[in-house]
């Protein structure tokens, strides 16, 4: 994983219609930047969806990307979210090996992290955990020693923290003056 300092979270409000995600994603692709994670879902206003993108780019490059994104007709608003002043959540699903002799340890681990056990097999468990991406990283790391059969993470979603919203949220509306 890259250094966390290069991770930038963009919250992009777009019109909710076919092809928009492809346009947004291709803008990153054309410049050769990998999207680290991506989550798309409708918002409280059915006309719009919110795309939360985590990308590994330098800040100077990001400024150009944000401006270019803003030129897409379907993009309504772009905010860069600072991890220190936003709340982030992600969901993890994992199927883990759980032989009778280790099953108790896996169950205990899930309980410590306040996760859930979703399905039980003869020697496997499917578990879920939601929380901050860091917490999910820790959980994933600890599960790994038991043997992960399959793992799926959703990519993070984020919103600005309420109490400091006005001061620290960098609204990048593509305006330079």
């Amino acid at each position: 994983m890259s250094a966390p300092s290069r991770h930038h979270i963009l919250s992009v409000l777009v019109e909710n219609r076919a092809g928009v995600l492809a346009r947004v994603a291709s803008l990153f692709a054309r410049r050769g930047f990998n999207i680290y994670s991506l989550a798309v879902a409708p918002t409280e206003d059915e006309r719009f969806s919110r795309i939360t993108i985590v990308a590994d780019v330098e800040s100077a490059t990001l400024e150009q990307i944000v401006k270019q994104l803003f030129k897409l007709i379907d993009v309504v608003k772009i905010s860069e979210l600072d991890p220190r002043t936003s709340v982030e959540r992600e969901l993890l699903l994992a199927t883990v090996k759980a032989e009778p002799e280790t099953r108790g340890q896996v169950v205990e681990l899930v309980q410590i992290f306040e996760g859930k056990i979703l399905a039980v097999g003869n020697n496997q468990l499917t578990v879920s955990l939601d929380g901050t991406p860091d917490k999910l990283d820790d959980f994933e790391e600890l599960l790994r020693s038991y043997g992960i059969v399959e793992l799926q993470r959703t990519g993070r979603v984020a919103l600005p923290k309420l109490e400091r919203e006005s001061g620290r949220l960098r609204a990048l509306k593509g305006k330079a003056s």
């Binding site: 401006k67 007709i73 305006k175 003056s177």
Partner: protein, 422 residues
């Protein structure tokens, strides 16, 4: 823009309705410049001793030619007009320096290079203008006016970025400068700068070696005669390549929207179809399409459209039997290893081609035939005319700033010396 309509849609019927309104939540361009930035810009303009206006195609898009002229005349600041801005400021105006960039004239290039303030209006710091970016106008502060925020800081970090419509911003700038002057502000002395510029202009006009009797025609000569014989208000259209650069260099554009070319898109084959469009749009104007032989072959079949629809355009082919611009690069930068650039001077037979397509075809091979051929073409008004000029294949476009090099490394035509460019 490509609109692809499936066949079943074309065959179906529907009720026509006119939409009540268009709602584009994602399209809210900033058109009025920020007042604080406009004030900053006005102060910089008044304080500058070596300013220059770097006008781009945005002037024409924003219908800002009159505003530009007012700003230039109010401040006495010279204007360079990029390839896309030719005509946005009249070439006959004493403050007009013409085209900068890779094939721009040495005065326009050097004025940008040595300025202490670039007033970039609707221009995008294209690599053909800047040359090597890190050495471009090293001592200049930059005011950058563009309606697209993504252009701000894309190539050159501006000192004063102004996002807005060029016309509205320039008009606001003019008001602000007048306001500051009314409040007692005075403009810095630009006298020394202006006399340096006029010195360069005297020493560095576009130039070429005229052909001796019996030698091949010079393309620049053909353009000079064409220019001097063209009726007032003629619209000039070009393709892409050497002929395009010579057209921009040697023509005198006195009003906006009289120059049509594809600029940074670099689409060979643009000329003939674009000329047809220009003539349909302005049937009252003479439309001259100056094309190269390589470009012409790409879309010349459209002459059938022009003949069929009675659209009397005039085409001048500068036939040097090469893809001339590529040939020039191969000669200058690739040790004369010519590859895939030679076309035949005789094939296709352009006169027969023109006549087969319902046009009048004229061939010109020597200097004394140039004027009569152009006069004849200018008299025809009922069908397209194609004049083929057989020109010197060795002729290159100068000045030239080699790609990727600094504007300071400009290559001048024979007989001009860089030592006076200071």
């Amino acid at each position: 823009m490509l609109v692809d309509v499936p066949k079943d849609v074309l065959q179906s019927t529907m009720e026509w309705y006119w939409p009540d309104g268009v709602d584009l939540p994602g399209y809210k361009p900033t058109t009025k410049g920020h007042p604080r930035m406009i004030r900053e810009a006005a102060k910089l303009i008044l304080a500058s001793e070596q300013p220059v206006i770097y006008a781009g195609g945005g002037i024409l898009k924003a219908r800002a030619a009159d505003a530009l002229r007012e700003l230039a005349e109010l401040t006495g600041i010279h204007v360079v007009t990029t390839l896309m801005a030719r005509g946005a400021f009249p070439d006959t105006h004493p403050l007009c320096l013409g085209m900068p960039g890779m094939h721009g004239n040495a005065t326009a290039v050097t004025t940008l290079q040595k300025a202490d303030l670039l007033i970039a209006l609707g221009s995008r710091f294209d690599d053909r203008v800047t040359g090597k970016v890190s050495t471009f106008a090293p001592d200049a502060k930059v005011i950058h006016v563009d309606i697209d925020p993504a252009e701000q800081g894309k190539v050159r970090r501006p000192d004063v970025p102004i996002v807005g419509d060029c016309r509205l911003v320039i008009e606001a700038l003019v008001r602000e400068i007048r306001h500051l002057q009314a409040g007692g502000a005075t403009q810095a002395d630009t006298g020394a700068w202006r006399s340096r510029i006029s010195g360069w202009r005297e020493l560095f006009p576009y130039s070429y070696d005229a052909s001796e009797p019996g030698e091949a025609l010079k393309p620049q000569f053909c353009l000079e005669v064409l220019r001097d014989s063209a009726p007032h208000g003629t619209i000039l259209v070009s393709g892409v390549g050497q002929h395009q650069m010579w057209s921009s260099q040697y023509w005198r554009f006195d009003e906006p929207y009289t120059w049509v070319n594809s600029g940074g898109l670099g689409t060979m084959g643009f000329c003939v179809p674009a000329a047809i469009g220009a003539k349909v749009g302005r049937p009252d104007r003479t439309v001259w399409a100056v094309d190269g032989d390589g470009c012409f072959q790409m879309t010349a079949q459209e002459l059938v459209t022009a003949s069929t629809e009675r659209i009397p355009i005039k085409v001048a082919i500068l036939n040097n039997s090469y893809l001339g611009m590529v040939r020039q690069w191969q000669e200058m930068f690739y040790d004369e290893r010519y590859s895939e650039v030679y076309l035949s001077p005789d094939l296709p037979d352009y006169v027969q081609w023109a006549e087969a397509m319902g046009c009048i075809g004229i061939r010109v091979e020597s200097p004394e035939e140039v004027q009569p051929a152009i006069d004849k073409a200018n008299e025809v008004d009922d069908r397209p005319v194609v004049v083929e000029f057989r020109v010197d294949a060795r002729e290159k476009v100068f000045p030239m700033v080699p790609a990727g090099q600094s504007n300071d490394d400009i290559v001048l035509p024979d007989g001009q010396s860089k030592e006076f460019l200071r």
